[in-house]
């Protein structure tokens, strides 16, 4: 008799059986073996055979047979399941190349613009300003222009605020400067800045070599100190380590180099894109304090420790109020405003980036909507494949992760292609980005790649979510029965609201495109007040320091006279003249306060811009003479003055301006007589109406910085003739800013042109993506409704009725989407209001045009599916169902 319990006990020793259960299991299995043994004996086996038969019951009893889960000794990598899903997703993607490529391209369009914007934002906004604690550095303006630019300060403004304010540890002033650098192989006009000695203290800038400026440097000496930029040190001095205490010749004067700034130092001038290559100490003379209205200084200050921006703002407002009361200044002229250096230098860029990011984000959402729709349709088409996978053991989670993996693979592919697109977009932006600041270092670097991968992955996860939820939230096996039943139709109907969503996103994009395009068109059409098409411009800076060749007024007058004569002698040239600053030419627009006699003899005052100009200037630039005449070069015209129509209208409404008298308010003696009225010229920018302007003869002040205008039939040909003409007069005089005036004016439209281009691109993409989405959804719906349509035809419905039925599925959600889109468009219009010109941002015609464009597109997109519905043959449809 076999001792089955001992045998079983021996076999169960290493079986992993729970110790508490061991005795019972031994009894139970021993009982089983006994019955097997008896059965074998009953079948005729002998005892040995029956014993062997019972022992075979224990074959296959493995170590740990009774543990809770089977021990899987196969080596497993971490996340093996995830890797399997990714591989399965990749196989699925590559098995449908056409479908996958279309999705990748759509994603590339959506992702590429976002990646490009991130690269720009990283350079312009995220990169910290290279100044010490820049959050404590502010600009002080004497008010703001309507377009948000700050109003510059006069020397008196600066000195008053510096003396009275306790909110700043230091307040500095600076102005643009440029001068010819001679002494090397070729003379070169370089740009710099005149600064008060504490300028670098305010910014916290430290010199790379030597020192920055210090108190006392502003005192005129024979070899005044100067600080140069890193780029100038490299370019002109070959990075000479012994540069300190060497000299350079600037505007004919010897200057002692005391310091070199590091390459990272950025000169903070919001009005100039030129690279600043030198900083020269500003000497404030009594003559600079004569007129508060002589405003041209930028003023920056470092907030004192513990002083907030709000406290400092309140204090400067108080100081402004007391100055107005003391000196009778108008509130419009002294209305102090503080702005941080960051807001000042990148504020415009931030707004532009925000608007563009909204546009790019909407385009990405549109692309994602289309892709979700395509993936849903593809999932439905693969329902049998998915059902079989589930039946063969794939869990719902595995199926869902595969679908999401497919979506992520597509999205990452789209992201890679999008980075290539972003690179092209960046090149375009850098070439045409206009006055956007801190843009020059935007590039595709490691952090941009990380952003691209992260955004692509997130996009893929979101796009794959709905198809994955369909798989996990439904009985997949049920799809086998309901392939073309009501289930598919219900889902297709739900997706018509995708059309609504795309319309809602597309309407604001198209509206923005229309507004910015009309703005650009208006800027092209605007009459700037002069004829830019036949004029050429250049500038010279006459060295006018003591002992230099243009030190005296006579020397400068002689040069200008000779220059104009030489230019007029050039072939094709009709006129030539000089002016202190060309309209929109990039130099300061000087202004002042003028006193003028009214009809009753009383004296009133008005702020106006002023320029000195030679006799030939008005002809050269094509500025019309409306009354009287302009100057001649005769000395007796020295006391003449010309005003523009706006000044004349404000000062002497309804009366002739010629013969009237006016003077600079700060100069009590010199009354000048108006000899002519010229047309209004837009001096600051095309979108700013002309201000009152006063012109006096160049010979009155003979400024050393001379802007020259030449009128000719062929400005392009004239360009080539100008340098030789100057060189013949003075070979040491650099010529700068040589360009056709039309190109100068076109450059001012650069930002608007760029904005319009970007908006039009986004709007065009919105129309195309919405059209595709509408077409795809409606095609799917017609497919699902084929049986229903066939029945309707069989029951006698007309084609027109069936067409209306189909179109209704698209048009109702499209209309609903447009209504929502109009609300979004109104918000966008409010955001763009400051950048729009010549059109009301809330013009109903713009919104109507946007909706009409999209409605037309929707109609075109529904044409093919509707045509397909018309062609349904009821006989075929009903036979298929039989």
């Amino acid at each position: 008799m076999s001792d089955w319990q001992s045998i079983v006990r021996a076999h169960l020793q290493r079986s992993g059986l729970d110790a508490g259960r061991f005795p019972d299991a031994v009894d139970e299995i021993a009982s089983h073996l006994e019955r097997v043994h008896r059965a074998a004996l009953a079948q005729g086996l002998d005892d040995e055979g029956a014993h062997a038969s019972a022992l075979r019951e224990l074959e296959g009893l493995e170590p740990a047979s009774f543990t809770r889960r089977p021990v899987d000794t196969r080596p497993r990598l971490p996340l093996a399941g995830l890797w399997h899903s990714v591989r399965a997703g990749w196989r699925s993607v590559t098995s449908r190349p056409g479908f996958s490529f279309g999705i990748v391209v759509m994603l590339a369009l959506g992702l590429g613009f976002n990646v490009a914007l991130y690269a720009i934002a990283e350079s312009a906004l995220l990169r910290p300003l290279p100044h010490h604690d820049p959050g404590r550095v502010v600009f002080l303006w004497q008010g703001l222009w309507p377009d948000g630019d700050g109003k510059v300060n006069s020397v008196l403004d600066y000195e008053d605020f510096a003396a009275r304010s306790r909110s700043f540890s230091s307040l500095a002033a600076f102005n643009i400067s440029f001068a010819p650098l001679t002494g090397g192989d070729t003379p070169e006009q370089i740009n710099g800045s005149l600064v008060t000695p504490n300028f670098f203290d305010v910014l916290g800038g430290r010199a790379l070599l030597g020192r920055t400026l210090a108190a006392g440097d502003e005192v005129p000496t024979v070899d005044r100190p100067i600080v140069i930029s890193h780029s100038l040190w490299v370019r002109r001095f070959n990075q000479d380590p012994n540069i300190i205490t060497q000299t350079l010749t600037l505007a004919g004067q010897t200057r002692r180099i005391v310091g070199v700034m590091p390459a990272s130092f950025e000169h903070p001038d919001p009005f100039s894109d030129e690279i600043t290559e030198y900083w020269s100490p500003m000497t404030i003379t009594p003559g600079m304090r004569t007129a508060r209205a002589m405003r041209y200084l930028r003023v920056i200050g470092r907030l004192a420790p513990g002083v907030s921006l709000e406290t400092a703002q309140a204090e400067v407002e108080q100081i402004g109020e007391s100055l107005r009361a003391e000196f009778g200044i108008l509130a419009s002229e002294t209305n102090p405003v503080l702005r941080t250096i960051f807001d000042e230098l990148v504020g415009d860029t931030r707004l532009w980036l925000l608007v563009c990011a909204a546009g790019a984000g909407l385009v990405l959402l549109l692309a994602m909507g289309n892709i979700v729709n395509l993936l849903l349709a593809n999932t439905a088409a693969r329902r049998r494949e998915l059902a079989v996978r589930a039946a063969l053991g794939a869990s719902r989670g595995r199926l869902a992760s595969q679908l999401i993996s497919e979506s992520v693979c597509l999205s990452v592919g789209g992201g890679l292609l999008g980075v290539a697109l972003a690179s092209l977009v960046l090149r375009g932006v850098l070439a045409t980005g206009g006055d956007l600041s801190r843009l020059e270092e935007a590039r595709i670097d490691a952090s941009v790649w990380v952003f691209a991968v992260a955004l692509s992955t997130l996009t893929g996860l979101l796009c794959g979510l709905w198809p994955a939820l369909r798989v996990t939230g439904r009985k997949v096996m049920g799809d086998l029965a309901g392939a073309r039943g009501s289930t598919g139709l219900e889902v297709s109907r739900a997706r018509t609201w995708l059309i609504a969503g795309e319309m809602a996103l597309a309407v604001p994009l198209v509206t923005g495109a229309l507004l910015l395009s009309v703005t650009l068109w208006q800027m092209v059409r605007v009459n700037a007040g002069f004829d830019a098409g036949h004029a050429t411009h250049f500038r010279v800076n006459l060295p006018s320091g003591t002992g230099q060749r243009y030190a005296s007024v006579d020397q400068r007058l002689r040069f200008v006279s000779d220059l104009e004569a030489r230019l007029r002698a050039l072939p094709g040239v009709a006129a030539a003249g000089v002016v202190s600053s060309l309209p929109m030419g990039g130099l300061n627009n000087t202004g002042g306060r003028f006193s003028y006699e009214q009809h009753d003899g009383a004296v009133a005052e008005m702020s106006a811009g002023f320029r000195s100009a030679s006799a030939g200037y008005f002809d050269a630039l094509g500025i019309p003479v409306l009354q009287g005449r302009t100057f001649t070069d005769a000395p007796e015209d020295s006391a003449s003055i010309v005003v523009n129509a706006r000044f004349a209208q404000l000062a002497w409404p309804g009366r002739a301006a010629v013969g009237q008298r006016l003077r600079l308010s700060s100069d009590a003696k010199q009354w000048r007589t108006v000899i002519g009225v010229v047309g209004d010229v837009r001096h600051v920018r095309l979108t700013n109406e002309a201000d009152p302007e006063v012109f006096w003869p160049y010979r009155s002040d003979a400024w050393a910085i001379v802007s020259v205008v030449v009128r000719s039939q062929d400005p392009q040909a004239t360009l080539a003739q100008i340098r030789p003409a100057i060189t013949a007069l003075d070979s040491q005089l650099p010529v700068v800013a040589l360009a056709r005036v039309s190109d100068i004016i076109a450059a001012t439209r650069g930002p608007a042109a760029f904005s319009a281009s970007a908006a039009t691109l986004f709007g065009g993409l919105a129309v195309a993506l919405s059209a595709f989405g509408t077409f795809a959804v409606l095609s799917l719906l017609v497919g699902h409704r084929t049986r229903e349509i066939g029945i309707r035809f069989a029951l006698g419905a007309s084609r027109a009725r069936v067409r209306a039925l189909v179109l209704r599925d698209a048009l109702i959600p499209a209309l609903a989407g447009c209504l929502v889109g109009l609300v979004l468009a109104a918000w966008l219009a409010r955001t763009l209001a400051s950048r729009v010109y010549g059109v009301d941002p809330y013009s109903p015609w713009v919104f109507v045009a946007a909706v009409t464009t999209l409605a037309t597109m929707a109609g075109v997109a529904t044409w093919l599916p509707a045509r397909r519905a018309m062609r349904v043959d009821p006989a075929i449809t009903l036979r298929a169902d039989a």
Partner: protein
């Protein structure tokens, strides 16, 4: 050659269903369960004690079956099993899944990749 449908891999997945289905009819000892399966499949499927009892104990831990000792007079005590209510639910679910599985295989066999 063994029919692929009944190879060990398939048998593992169907074992629970078979045991639950037998216990749906009556309360059984482990030996009787194995015999019932052998009879219902015409001898094609057999379960040895080495594979049967680990599976029975797992089903019991899951709460789908419940075992109890019986002491027939004059015999060694034996343990019998019966289906619990949750086991009956699991049996219904597994019957449905296997039915659909067979249908899916039948249909899929005639289709290519869609």
């Amino acid at each position: 050659m063994t029919d692929p449908l009944f190879d060990p891999a398939a048998k593992k997945g169907s074992a629970e269903l078979l045991i639950l289905a037998v216990l749906d009819d009556t309360e059984c000892h482990g030996y009787d369960i194995a015999k019932a399966i052998e009879q219902r499949t015409g001898g094609l499927l057999t379960f040895r004690a080495a594979s049967l009892y680990p599976l029975l104990y797992r089903l019991e831990e899951r709460g789908w079956i419940q075992g109890r000792w019986q002491q027939p007079s004059g015999e060694r005590r034996k343990r019998t099993y019966r289906l619990t209510p949750s086991g009956r639910k699991a049996l219904t679910a597994q019957r449905g899944q296997w039915t659909r599985f067979v249908e899916a295989l039948s249909q899929a066999a005639g289709l290519g990749h869609v």
